[in-house]
Structure formats: structure tokens, C-alpha cells
Amino acid sequence: MLVKLGYLDLSIAWFLLVGVTLLSILMQLDVAKKVLIAALRMVLQLLLVGQILKSVFLLQSTWALAGVILVMTCFAAREIIVRQDYHFLKRSTNLVGPVALAISTLVITFIALRLIIGITPWYRPQYLIPIMGMALGNTMNGIAIALHRFLGQVDQKRGEIMERLALGETPALALLDIRRESINAGIIPMINMMSVAGIVALPGMMTGQILSGTSPVEAVKYQIMIILLVATSIGFGTMMVIHFTSKALFDQRERLCWERLKPRG
């Protein structure tokens, strides 16, 4: 069984962080405030989420579970939007990223719980929330990075796109290089993670299961499933967001409507 941590035990870890922060003040690194605020946020958020999850697990209420899922998805969706340097004048186009995120992660989580793990009911919170959380976090990153790269490149290469259209290329062809580059940027963290998984880095979920006493062989199987599903979700989500955002940049006569895009600020 897992050794329980008391709050006193946690304070030892706190003292270590405060110590290194003091050192940074001595070295005039100007990071102390940022580090402490971020650490405080992390502690409060996690303590809160621990309490919330505990009550959701106890209640076994579908509504409470749906609420948690909704809040998680909304925060991830918001994160995608605020990380962009450009936005569309038409509101609904900005929602392409969040919608791609929601569809991608919900489908993947459902498949994992229903078809692969096969628990009943498939939405058991102890399974649903962690798996959905991992899918959301990673897919959110992938989509945000891909979209950020895509919109930046489109703005920067406006002249090139116009010229390729003038030469009679279709929008799909004129954007091909940019689409490839942005989807690549979105999935590279996942590819890198898969390449070193188990050798350099032990993935967090597997580590957690091993700490709580699960046999490493079983933990590894779960981890493999999660990584494969999350990679699928990232791939599907980035493709979806780039596809529909590309469409939104052209009108029915295949003209580049770059005035639909505005830099933030």
C-alpha cells in the first residue's frame, strides 16, 4: 500500500522550494515571485481538486461528474484561445480549436473506457476523470501549438499564398507546406515523448500506479494504452483544427480572406 503523506511531510518539500527561491533572490535572478506564485497556485488548485474528486467519487452522481468534465474542458478550451497571437473576427471560427479538442478527447476517452478497459458503467469517475484529463491536457497542447504556428505562418506568408493562388493552385495546395509544418509542430512533443518513454522518462501515470503498488507490468500496459490513445487524439485534433481553420481563410471563390484574421492586442 501507498505510504500516506501528512501535511507536515509536504512542508518539507515546501521548505526546499523556498530555500532555492531565497538563493535566487541572493543571485538577483528576478524569478522568486513568479516561482512562488505558480507554486502556490499549484498547491491550492490541487488541494481543491483533491477535495472535489473525493466528493465526486463518493457521490457517484452522474451530474457532478458531468460538471467536472465540463469545467475541465472549458478551461482547456480557453487555454487554446488565449495562447493564440491571432484571432478571427468571426467568433465562431475561433471556436474551431475548442470544438476539435472536445470531440477528439471525448471520442478517445469513450473508446478507452467502453471498448478497451470495458468497465461498467463506462463513466466510472475513478477511470473517466484521470484518462480524460490526460487526453485533454495533451490534446490541448497539440492543438494550441499547431494553430499558433498555422496562423502565424499564414499571416507571414500572405504574399506567397496569394501568388500561388494567382498561379492557379487550389487553396489546399497553396497551404500544403504551412499545414504540414503546423501539424508537425503540434505532434512533435508527443513523438519525442514516445521515443524516450521508459528509457529517459518514466511517464507520470505509470509511475503513480507503481507507487500505489500495482505490478509494473500491469502499469506499463495501461501506460501504453494511454499513450497510443493520447497520440491518436492529438493527431486527430490537430488535423481537424488545421483543416477547418484553412477553410475559414477562403471564400467560396477560393480567395484568401486575410482580413478575417486579426493580430491580438
Partner: protein
Amino acid sequence: MFQLNQLATEQVGPCQLTLNPGEIVAISGASGIGKSLLLQACADLIPHRGEVRLNGVSAVDFGPSVWRRQVSYLGPTSCWWRYCAGDHFPSPLTPQLHSWFLQVGLKPAILEQVAVTLSSGERQRLALLRLLQQGPTILLLDEPTSFLDSAGKILVEQLVQEYLAADQQRAAIWVTHDLEQLERVGDRALWLADQLTTWSGRGVSC
């Protein structure tokens, strides 16, 4: 055969113009009056009112990319999205492209050159050849010699004239600020202000 019917964008027009086969219509006008926009509207690259017809068929009855291969716009500056200049051309060059290269004073060895190192004059001539190799019927040339010296200008003018002469269907609109060029290449010369009017000869301030 090529017709602009009440063609207008937010900034320019409405313009009325009919190109006859083989003809070059040269257009000049003050900077910022909308000459480029007019040409881009002809190629259906920007939103516009009115209509453009090729041999009686309206642009909207063509697929956009099919139309742009027939009615092709060439801007004064160009982008090169592959690494080398040659990556934008068939390899090896077709005999016709090869002779065009020599005709405008470009050595085929320039194809080995990294695209970002091309001079503006080289880019301008290469961009014209990149367009011509697709065999467009109507050329919409937007200051196509603005980075060339006078000898280079003559070479490009001759190439375009020969290109048009090779097929009876072809014609061109040529936008220029160079009034000598206007008179040299234009079978007709027009002046764009609010609308297209006949160019009344030298002496009009611009």
C-alpha cells in the same frame, strides 16, 4: 473576347473594357488609384462587383483555379517558396522555357541558385517565365519590368509580344508607370482614374 463588364472593387471602378485577340492594352494611373486591384479582380483574387468574361463565358462559370490558370495575374514582386530557383520549374527545362530564359538574358545556371539570393531583376524575369510556362490565355501584368534596366525592359516586352503572337486567343493587360513603355507596348493606352479613359498622350501629369 476578354471583357470587363462594370468591374469594380471598393476602391476602383466600375470599369468597362474589351480586349481584342492579340492585343495589349496598357494602363497607367496615379499610384494607389487601384491598378493592381483592378487586375486582381480580373483574376478573381479579390472580391468585386460586375463581371469578367472570357470568350463569352463568365468567370463564375469556371472553377476558381481553372480561371486563374487562364487569366493569370503577375505582380511586381514575387515569392519563391522552394529552396532553389530551379525547384519552381520543370527539370530539365522544356526547350521552350530554355529559349525563353536566354531571350530575357537569364543563364539556365541561375536555376541552381538559392532562391533568396536572387536579385530583384532576376526574380522579376523568373516570375514571368514561371507564369508563361503554364500557358495562360490572358496575361494581367502588373508592372512586370519595374526592377529592370532599359535593355531588360525591351527583352521582356519582346518576349510577351511573341508569346501573344504564338496563339490568336491570347491578349494582355499591361500596367506600367513608365510612359514610354506605355506607348511602346500598348496597342491601346488607357488611363485609370475613377474609371478607365483613353490615354490622351504625353503631358498628362501623373
